[in-house]
Subunit: 332 residues, 2 copies
């Protein structure tokens, strides 16, 4: 790729996470779908928050997490997402800028509040997310800057954007601009329920405009309406040039049209909170690609970034990932 | 003590902590006094926040932390402090109630914002706090409920309250009510700079109205204007019936008019963030006293609670302290 201002620009929901631990019985009692993201309204936030234990607030948002991971790996990243001029909006803007990610979307005024996700983390480290999107999807009023997209090697889009029409339009707009500028487009499937909601649209997009697809096992199976992982892998090899599919503790499979590369996960002492595991996997992989590393090394870098994030609460790196990766002998 | 509704009621500043890591060079460059708390204005919050790295938000406040520690140890605690009806105020109220601490002070409206502390944590785990008090000190408009004080075995007051006249009046009011109701009064010296600012008033209070004094080595030395720890211990033995003085990695000394009991600290694998170490020490000690345990056991319980809090970011327990203490064979 020729010289670009950014390695990756990410477009996604701009969210502050409110994270508390809970046991599985509480998830059951509240009827929350374990391991998934569901959308909730503003009133639900109030009632569900009352049910949460003591929490911490930490900036999140899938693509935003990925962009902070890229910066932490020494890459140049930018984020496009929308927050309001309220306490959570100022927190989100502070945290992403402090992580050395370019973030130039102005704070919205007199609009809906900044998005927040009430995240319940069970003792096994699994996270269950309840997201109020607020102002976040309102991305079709000039927020997508064509120059920024054209100046980024890769445009990374989170599938969650498909859940709101305004955001979906912005998503398509960004993908089109990137392609027309000769840049790469990458998509994360985000959540299997999200895939269920938008299966055909995702398939069309992947076939027409996506260079690199990220998914986990459940999401790729949902995409092809199969319970058989091998079948889903065969199918995605026909539709996408490159797909990186994560399998939790079983590592990941990198799939090209001619090859399947299996990579073991990076060892983790204790899985504390899986929030952001997929986001940071994507960060490592994308940063490897931006550095023209081979696919196996990209996957290893992805695994190292994911291992860091699940070893603590919150989906933003607590350690400088470039240092962690170098200690493991990776060429970053 | 006869039957009370609460083991301890704590009165203090109601603060949300904004915690970020930094190196020592940054503290120097910003001129921040390492290991101390200093008060800052609302404008300083904006400029200093810009200097911070990516942060997490977690409820704090010295006495508030102590009350959550007591609840986590299975005790009954209540907290009196003031927050506004803003995002941070709602976070503070949620977190303390979710920790099973009674908190009935209404959210203030149309007033100053909720207090926040910008906390810089260096690689050695030391925390340096920059606190904007906002609405927090406005505690003299009926917030001190005489019935609540009279129904609590111990009233626990943080020295930080002395930094604002309105809060200091509330402090004296609460101490007087507790004494008149035949309850115990406990004071934490909070910070050596705070002691420097109010030395004589603290001494008068300790001699007249305090049953149990908490301090660290630096604070007790500041109180008596000496650099010699043994001298400070001798002096406090004359002024207070009971004092518990912490010495960081050197453990603590419990001082009565006739005895000095030295207790080793609880082992900690890694000191991540010392924010709240003194607060949780006080929690363990107070809960031990409320359960009529001997002083050495009170100090050990204090050490266990402090060890838990410094092993992670933030000053609220992440693990159920009663379980941790029982695993160590302590009778709670």
């Amino acid at each position: 790729m020729d010289e670009c201002r950014y390695d990756v620009v990410g477009i996604g929901n701009a969210i502050v996470d409110i994270i508390a631990r809970c046991d599985d019985a509480k998830l059951d009692r509240l009827g929350l779908p374990k391991g998934h993201m569901r959308l909730i309204g503003e009133d639900d936030v109030v009632s569900l928050y009352k049910e949460m234990g003591p929490a911490v607030e930490v900036s999140g948002g899938s693509a935003a997490n990925t962009m902070t991971g890229i910066a932490s790996l020494g890459g140049k990243s930018a984020f496009v997402g929308k927050v309001s001029d309220d306490e959570f909006g100022r927190i989100f803007r502070h945290d992403i800028r402090a992580a050395d990610v370019s973030f130039e979307v102005p704070l919205a005024e007199n609009d809906a509040p900044t998005a927040r996700s009430l995240i319940f983390v069970t003792p096994d480290g699994e996270r269950t997310m309840n997201t109020f999107l607020g102002v976040s999807p309102l991305l079709n009023n000039g927020e997508i800057d064509p120059t920024l997209i054209a100046q980024s090697k890769i445009t990374y889009l989170e599938g969650y954007l498909f859940d709101r029409d305004e955001a979906k339009q912005a998503f398509h707009q960004a993908a089109r601009i990137a392609r027309e500028a000769g840049r790469k487009v990458s998509l994360s499937l985000s959540d299997s329920f999200c895939v269920d909601r938008h299966r055909q649209e995702f398939l069309n997009l992947i076939r027409e405009r996506v260079d690199l697809l990220f998914a986990n096992e459940e999401e790729i199976c949902a995409l092809y309406g199969t319970k058989d992982f091998a079948t889903a892998c065969d199918r995605v090899a026909e539709d996408a040039d490159l797909a990186a599919v994560t399998r939790g503790a079983a590592g990941c499979v990198v799939i090209t049209r001619g090859e399947k590369i299996e990579v073991s996960p990076d060892p983790v002492e204790e899985v504390v909170d899986t929030t952001g595991a997929g986001d940071l996997y994507a960060a490592g992989f994308l940063q490897g690609l931006a550095r023209d590393l081979d696919l196996r090394t990209c996957a290893r870098l992805a695994g190292v970034a994911a291992a860091e994030i699940i070893s603590h609460i919150g989906a933003r790196p607590e350690n400088r990932l470039i240092r962690v990766a170098r200690e493991k002998g990776l060429p970053v």
